[in-house]
Symmetry: C2
Subunit: 410 residues, 2 copies
């Protein structure tokens, strides 16, 4: 079995952390100068590991093994949120690098092909999942022409500044790329709460996002008796209670729903709110349950409008994201490796967050492995994972990688 080098792994992660280091955190937005520095360093480390490394036309760093396929592709992202943590996607990319090295150093696996990718802009500084979408042939030309970052910089211009305007984009090789593995930090507190060290992802959850708008009657808060008020804020609060009850009936332990924003209009002490709005998001691993929740919500809206003095309507919604199931055979390989190296200390679990794996999964069998996040924190400067968990996760991923490739080559 291949053996990873814990010190080499941790040193590479720590070196990558130095690009954009800000206190304990990292600010390394896609295609920024410091992000490009990190990409060039990464390509150099890939080259040293014997991979053919390049930065492609959208900024993805791709390290291709010189071995013939079938290949296991291991990837994640090295860009960060505006106030990002040091591990997030960086962990999975450096795992890929270390696994490519470890398999190359092992007699039994030295002929195995491991390609490694750092997909550009998973975090959506310009256009979320740009690298994985470009790699799998999904349409990105319109985004390249029109997407802008928060400062108004066009993606096309950012690529020009990075010297990538004329660089070709790397594309999936369907004859070669037969499996995708994305290791990642959990970004939640479940593994920690359960005392587990490894999560094997079953599904990346689907997402619904919508705004509900309540319309009542603005009035003087002193002279309008409770009995004749049409208080849009009070209606919103009552609606949330009914929605919570309805969703609780439909939910399993992993279903989540969040009211992330509430606004009352006009928002003053002395005025009964005439309008109110809430932002609702819900996520679940089951497409059927998401549809049932949508349906329950529509029923609540109808019922509310039929019975109450304040009206409610869905004022807008984001395109639905459907759940993406991880490949069953690949999950089994991860589970076997986890059980071998961390018996009883792993569990299957959904991913509540989005990942490049959900893009790749539409084109190639895909799987994900999680390591615990301390305190469940991510997308924050204090995001962290214990060294022992970082090392164990990479050992499990390397063992699974060897098994996956063995079975692909069989």
């Amino acid at each position: 079995m291949p053996k990873i080098d814990p010190e080499r792994l941790l040193n590479d992660l720590r070196h990558l952390r130095s690009f954009g280091a800000t206190g304990p955190g990292v600010v390394r937005l896609s295609l920024s100068a410091v992000d490009m520095d990190a990409r060039r360093w990464l390509a150099g480390r890939m080259t040293e590991a014997g991979l053919d490394a390049s930065i492609d036309g959208v900024g993805t760093v791709f390290g291709r093994s010189r071995n013939a396929g079938p290949a296991l592709l291991i990837g994640s992202h090295t860009d960060t949120q505006p106030t990002g943590g040091w591990l997030d996607g960086a962990l999975g990319v450096i795992y890929g690098l270390e696994i490519a090295r470890a398999l190359g150093e092992c007699e039994e696996t030295r002929e195995f092909a491991v390609d490694v990718a750092s997909w550009i802009d998973e975090e959506g500084t310009f256009s979320g999942f740009l690298g994985s979408r470009s790699f799998t042939g999904e349409p990105v030309d319109e985004a390249i022409r029109n997407a802008r970052n928060r400062d108004g910089l066009l993606l096309a211009d950012a690529l020009g500044h990075a010297g990538l305007a004329a660089t070709p984009r790397v594309l999936i090789d369907r004859a070669r790329h037969k499996a995708y593995l994305e290791p990642h930090i959990e970004q939640g507190g479940r593994l920690e709460a359960h005392g587990k060290s490894i999560g094997v992802v079953t599904t990346i959850v689907g997402i619904r996002e919508l705004r509900l708008r309540f319309t009542g009657q603005r009035n003087h808060a002193g002279t309008t008796p409770m009995s004749i008020r049409r208080d849009a804020g009070a209606a919103l609060v009552a609606f949330i209670a009914r929605m919570d009850e309805a969703f609780r009936q439909l939910a399993d332990a992993d279903t989540v729903w969040t009211v992330g924003r509430i606004e009352l209009d006009p928002g003053s002490f002395s005025v009964v709110p005439g309008a109110a709005e809430l932002h609702l998001q819900f996520r679940d691993a089951s497409a059927e349950r998401l549809r049932a929740m949508e349906s329950a919500l529509a029923g609540l809206v109808r019922d509310f409008n039929a019975r109450e003095k304040v009206s409610v309507a869905i004022a807008g919604s984001e395109p639905p994201e459907e759940p993406v199931t991880m490949d069953a055979a690949l999950q089994t390989h991860l589970a076997h490796a986890a059980q071998a190296l961390a018996p009883g200390a792993w569990e299957p679990m959904p991913s509540g967050a989005s990942h490049d794996a959900q893009v790749l999964a539409h084109h190639v069998p895909a799987c994900m492995l999680f390591v615990p996040s301390i305190g469940g924190v991510s997308h924050d400067f204090i995001e962290d994972t214990a060294d022992a968990h970082i090392v164990l996760g990479c050992q499990v991923a390397a063992r699974a990688a060897a098994e996956i490739l063995r079975s692909l080559r069989a």
Copy 2:
């Protein structure tokens, strides 16, 4: 009995409306050029009515009868909200002018003394109730030095621009001013809903205003299971439901409470709110009930903190305003006059809004008379009252004024 002149009354109201007219509404902020124009016009009309009229050192227009006391003081305010209605305080001031004229024209009442006031800045463009506070000898020097309007203009400078810097302030004459009457539009929908034409105010309600802050844990809305969340927004919603239930137990039909503002932090779709704040106001005519509501709220806060994963605290509050009871004998005079001129079409009621009368009532027996607001609307350009109600209200007030003065002189 004195008789008012409906046309003269309505014409004066309509002429006053022309100062600052904006569509159907009026913008006549305290001490603005147009407000000063209106004050000079009003002083002129008072002089024509035989009153000794002046604009005092804070801008109050005061018309003093040449008759010896005891005097009935009738007043309200001619300044408006930033987007004000045409009647609001203007109604009561022009009622006072018309009643002074009507009593002066009537054989039986021509010796009676009616003084008329338009108190400056009831609406708080600089400092709320400035005129009535100054008149009753409450401290206003600090406000004159430091209060500013929304544009940053100092009150002292505004008084200078209006040419009032060296003008003396009119003060209550306790030997003369034995009763205060403030006629006003209702600013609510109660009289209209009950099919009544006149309201006799029993009490001006007390007010409490405070902010409640909820502190939980900010988290990823996808990766944080419902069971381990400390969602400050969900806690806020749950708290409101308990508060509504507790307040409903304590309330009578006139008790009102309003959550006018809600903020969730950070306020995004994808983040479980780590903090949340609500602005709460409650009003009631009973000081005892207000204390019971404060006490219930404190109990809910204690209970919530003992049992829930999110903490709540009172983050700040405005100084309490206690309820102010209208003088019983004056209420009886208003009721008799209303019953004589509008039998069965009047009712006693609290004032849910604040008025200069609450300042005056601490120094002189005070009463208020309401006329209906169409649709309950006020502090809005479309604020209005039917002409018939305007005229009837003035007739009732004039009759009550004559009876009040008769009893004061007895």
